[in-house]
Assembly symmetry: C2
Homo-oligomer: 165 residues x 2
């Protein structure tokens, strides 16, 4: 299957929230996102890894406009669920490699992360699906990242070794 | 914009790996996923939240066939990058709510998590994109989760309140 990386996208009018040390039991995620849903706040890039010792962190992004209200709601919910704290990072942008068959493409993720590493761009969060790999990075690197990824995946497509054996 | 939840999907022939406490500096993610890419191992659902105190966890899924080789590679890379340990959970399945405009749909995530919570299904990991919200759950709950989500989002669509004002 020929892997087709279709393009590189970025969005930067977002703010990332992280709720640190939430208890890992049923109902916790529902409480957090119903509270945001009830306030008509759209969320993107929800990311939660597995819990270690019964606690885990959850992070997600909201639009800059919604950030003040989201912060208020989250601090209230964090207390109710017994989380440790709420972190807010307004300095994020999301860069994504978008394509088809990303799931079976061994190598796309490694290559994307390698391009960012070569430009000394730290990855703040990662989220993937079958059609895209997204990274949150510091906003000041958005243009550099998009240009470097475009060069690696689109312009130099012929050296694109990703799993199309 | 009318939010269209198109369907509920699930996959269960996957194994989740978590690398606990990786240093949060450029190049770390590249090292992990290039090692897997070089071994032609396809990864799915890569999830990393922000670091707290300079370390973070990363988790992702591979197919059951690739799991033994992935475990060998990851234990070697974990030592090289100074991570704490590698966890492997073979008992996972991924359930997803798939649709259009999920990003602007406040309420979809909260509703999905609430349905799982009502059936006392714990969420092991979360990952979202514009077209889908995915949760990793214990494999024994796959059918229950798919049926409950289908009822909430597809069968009872007319009560589907998600942000379509
Ligand atoms: C941490 C959170 O996702 C929890 N496991 C839940 O099911 O709500
Ligand atoms: C943790 C890992 O993602 C690291 N921040 C990196 O850029 O590689």
């Amino acid at each position: 299957e020929k892997i087709a990386v279709r393009g590189i996208t970025s969005t930067d009018k977002e703010v990332q929230f992280t709720i640190v040390k939430v208890p890992d039991k049923p109902g916790i995620a529902a409480k957090i996102f119903k509270a945001l849903g009830d306030a008509h706040i759209a969320v993107d890039m929800i990311v939660q890894t597995v819990s270690v010792n019964g606690y885990t962190d959850m992070s997600f992004t909201v639009s800059e406009n919604d950030a003040p209200l989201a912060k208020e709601i989250l601090e209230k919910v964090a207390k109710e669920i017994g989380a440790e704290k709420v972190l807010m990072d307004p300095d994020v942008s999301k860069v994504s490699v978008v394509g088809l068959g990303m799931r079976s493409a061994y190598g796309v993720a490694g290559k994307m992360f390698d391009v960012l590493a070569k430009h000394n761009i730290n990855i703040k969060a990662i989220s993937t699906s079958e059609i895209r790999i997204s990274c949150l990075i510091a906003r000041k690197y958005t243009e550099l990242a998009v240009r470097a990824l475009h060069e690696a995946f689109i312009e130099n497509d012929k050296v694109n070794f990703v799993g199309d054996k």
